[in-house]
């Protein structure tokens, strides 16, 4: 009888939250390990560069000398800060193409940095010189 009374007086059992927390933590770990935030690789990655064009009206060639951004145009050497003056070198309103030739010390980061600065100065029709061009 005392056991029966004790059973009636016992508070109703509660659903334990511990397994739920376990599952949620496992899901969290899975997503943390298996996903890549877009910020790392896919957002801000586009860099369109024409490598081949048919009969461009005008081709202007800039020679990039180093990773700092020193360059030459039409035989005249300029330092990296002079990129801002590039739009004054030629008529950028036409369908002209600006081809960048790179000297040997230049790496991809140096080239992209230079193209980046051209973009910032309004020059977007940029191409990279490659052997057959």
């Amino acid at each position: 009888m005392s056991k029966l009374t004790a059973a009636f007086n016992k508070k109703p059992s509660r659903v334990s939250l511990v397994p739920l927390i376990d599952v949620v933590f496992i899901l969290l770990l899975f997503f943390l390990l298996s996903t890549q935030l877009n910020l790392l690789y896919d957002i801000n990655v586009e860099f369109p560069i024409e490598i081949h064009t048919k009969d461009p009206p005008e081709i202007y060639t800039l020679v990039l000398h180093d990773n700092v951004g020193n360059f030459s145009y039409s035989g005249n050497r300029f330092n990296a800060d002079a990129v801002a003056r590039v739009p004054t070198f030629f008529d950028t309103t036409s369908d002209s193409i600006i081809v960048i030739k790179s000297d040997d010390p230049v790496n991809v980061q140096g080239l992209i940095g230079f193209v980046d600065r051209l973009y910032q100065n309004g020059i977007t029709n940029v191409s990279i010189f490659e052997n057959g061009q």
Binding site: Y41, E46, F47, I51, N107, V108, D116, E130
Partner: protein
């Protein structure tokens, strides 16, 4: 008036609820913002750029690492095989339709990237994208 004190067990469960809320919020954030992608077979250090444009529907990826090794869609290839491998892609009707994202190592000399561009142009591509990260 008599107040019943909470049992220690009930008090412990209540203390965990904010933690569960935070964990759920993190989980929802990751589910919404995260994207499950195939990790690259070879990790390269991408060049930094201030460009903020995003590549539209890039399906083909060419990795060029600092050792000048090529991986087209995570499969090793070389310069001579590259044009044929591009033509053999299943989901491309014409080679000019290919939107190719080049993941070139930031430290790779441009002189080493140039033959790759030449090979792509000779294969028929008219445009490529070079992957960067925001610097």
């Amino acid at each position: 008036m008599k107040f019943e004190a909470d049992s220690p067990r009930t008090h412990g469960d209540n203390a965990v609820i904010p933690l569960i809320n935070v964990v759920f919020l993190i989980l929802i954030f990751l589910v919404i913002t995260g994207q499950i992608t195939n990790s690259d077979v070879y990790k390269v250090e991408l060049p930094e750029s201030v460009s903020q444009s995003t590549p539209p529907d890039i399906t083909q990826t060419l990795i060029v690492n600092e050792e000048r090794q090529l991986y087209l869609n995570n499969q090793a290839t070389n310069l001579s095989e590259l044009p044929d491998r591009l033509r053999e892609l299943d989901d491309v009707s014409q080679i000019t339709d290919i939107k190719l994202l080049i993941k070139a190592d930031a430290g790779l000399p441009v002189s080493d990237l140039r033959p790759v561009l030449t090979s792509l142009r000779e294969a028929g591509l008219q445009r490529v994208l070079i992957a960067t990260i925001q610097g």
